[in-house]
């Protein structure tokens, strides 16, 4: 099928671009490889969170009423605000990549900074929520003390499972946010130096994918944790 020497040596493709690593033929191959790698990594992330989601689903259908009851102790306004904050951060992340596509390095830096600010806002609100739960003795463990609403079935141990899951899921999510903010800050300097152009901005794209993924996790966490007891 291939009769000629199609393969090219390193450096020949992609106009000998400085970002080309030695073992790739050209920038296109390098870009495709890292984008695919990022997607495969996100696949593992789906299943990483998936273990917690499965645990949630099983206990949710088992302790249906108590989960709805315990969910009322979460602050829907904070949760909703955080959802909006994350959605906006996804927008600015997408706009940062768009700025790279039109070669506007200062715009990239600006959008990255806004995205980080949104991320930190999210984490700040999360901290306030955690502090509130701590003060109300809703952190699972020896100091857990759940006051059942009057006139309703009372199963503090099932409520504790709800809060265990709440802290595991939002905690793991917050950890991903912290990593995300770290990754964004790592992008700042090269962006400022004009390293990311319409020709090559793959790190920006890959970290963007990660950021959007973390957003998606929260899109599911919000209704599952905050809204099940709202009515």
């Amino acid at each position: 099928m291939h009769s000629g020497g199609v393969s090219v040596s390193a450096g020949a493709g992609g106009h000998g671009h400085a970002r080309l690593q030695h073992h790739f033929d050209d920038l296109e191959q390098q870009r495709e490889a890292s984008t695919l790698g990022m997607w495969v990594f996100l696949c593992t992330e789906i299943l990483f969170f998936g273990g917690l989601f499965t645990t949630y689903v099983i206990y949710r259908q088992r302790f249906h009423g108590v989960f709805a009851q315990a969910s009322r102790d979460l602050n829907v306004v904070w949760g909703g605000t955080n959802t909006a904050v994350l959605i906006c951060s996804s927008l600015t992340m997408a706009l940062a990549i768009w700025s790279a596509q039109i070669n506007r390095r200062k715009l990239i830096v600006m959008f990255l900074l806004i995205t980080m600010a949104f991320g930190l806002t999210f984490l700040g609100i999360k901290t306030v929520e955690y502090k509130e739960k701590f003060e109300h003795h809703l952190v699972p463990g020896p100091h857990f003390h759940y006051v059942c609403p009057p006139g309703e079935p009372c199963h503090p141990e099932q409520a504790e499972i709800f809060f265990s899951l709440y802290f595991c899921m939002t905690g793991l999510h917050a950890l991903h946010m912290i990593v995300g903010v770290g990754l964004l800050s790592y992008l700042l300097l090269p962006s400022w130096q004009g390293r990311y152009t319409s020709e090559w901005h793959n790190p920006l794209e890959c970290i963007g994918l990660y950021w959007h993924f973390v957003d998606i996790v929260w899109i599911f966490l919000f209704p599952l944790l905050y809204l099940i007891g709202a009515h």
Partner: protein, 106 residues
């Protein structure tokens, strides 16, 4: 593979703003709907909206709309395997009590 943004034509910002608006509106809707008790539909509606929102993020923010089949396959298989895990585990829990029901029914 990724979005088809050549230097020749300037990529549009519009889809991003539309997606963001859609997501915010859906968040509002899911919040309002949750105020009403729809019985067993509660969870289905809430999750349905979440799936819609996630799909919008994947397709537009993450550019999967313009991505290769391989990327689409990767995304789908990730969620498919999650579905395997959840539903096969559930198949055990859903059928746990059956034996007793049938035995006592006789």
């Amino acid at each position: 593979m990724a979005e088809h943004a050549s230097a020749a034509h300037t990529p549009s910002r519009k889809p991003y703003f539309l997606t963001c608006a859609f997501l915010l509106v859906m968040t509002l809707i899911t919040y309002v709907v949750a105020k009403f008790d729809l019985g067993p539909l509660n969870d289905i509606v809430a999750l349905g909206i979440a799936v819609l929102k996630a799909t919008a993020v994947v397709l537009f923010f993450m550019h999967v709309r313009h991505s290769s089949k391989l990327t689409k396959l990767t995304v789908v298989s990730g969620f498919l395997w999650l579905a395997f895990m959840i539903f096969i585990t559930l198949s055990d829990y859903w059928t746990r009590g059956w034996l007793d029901t049938f035995a006592s029914g006789r």
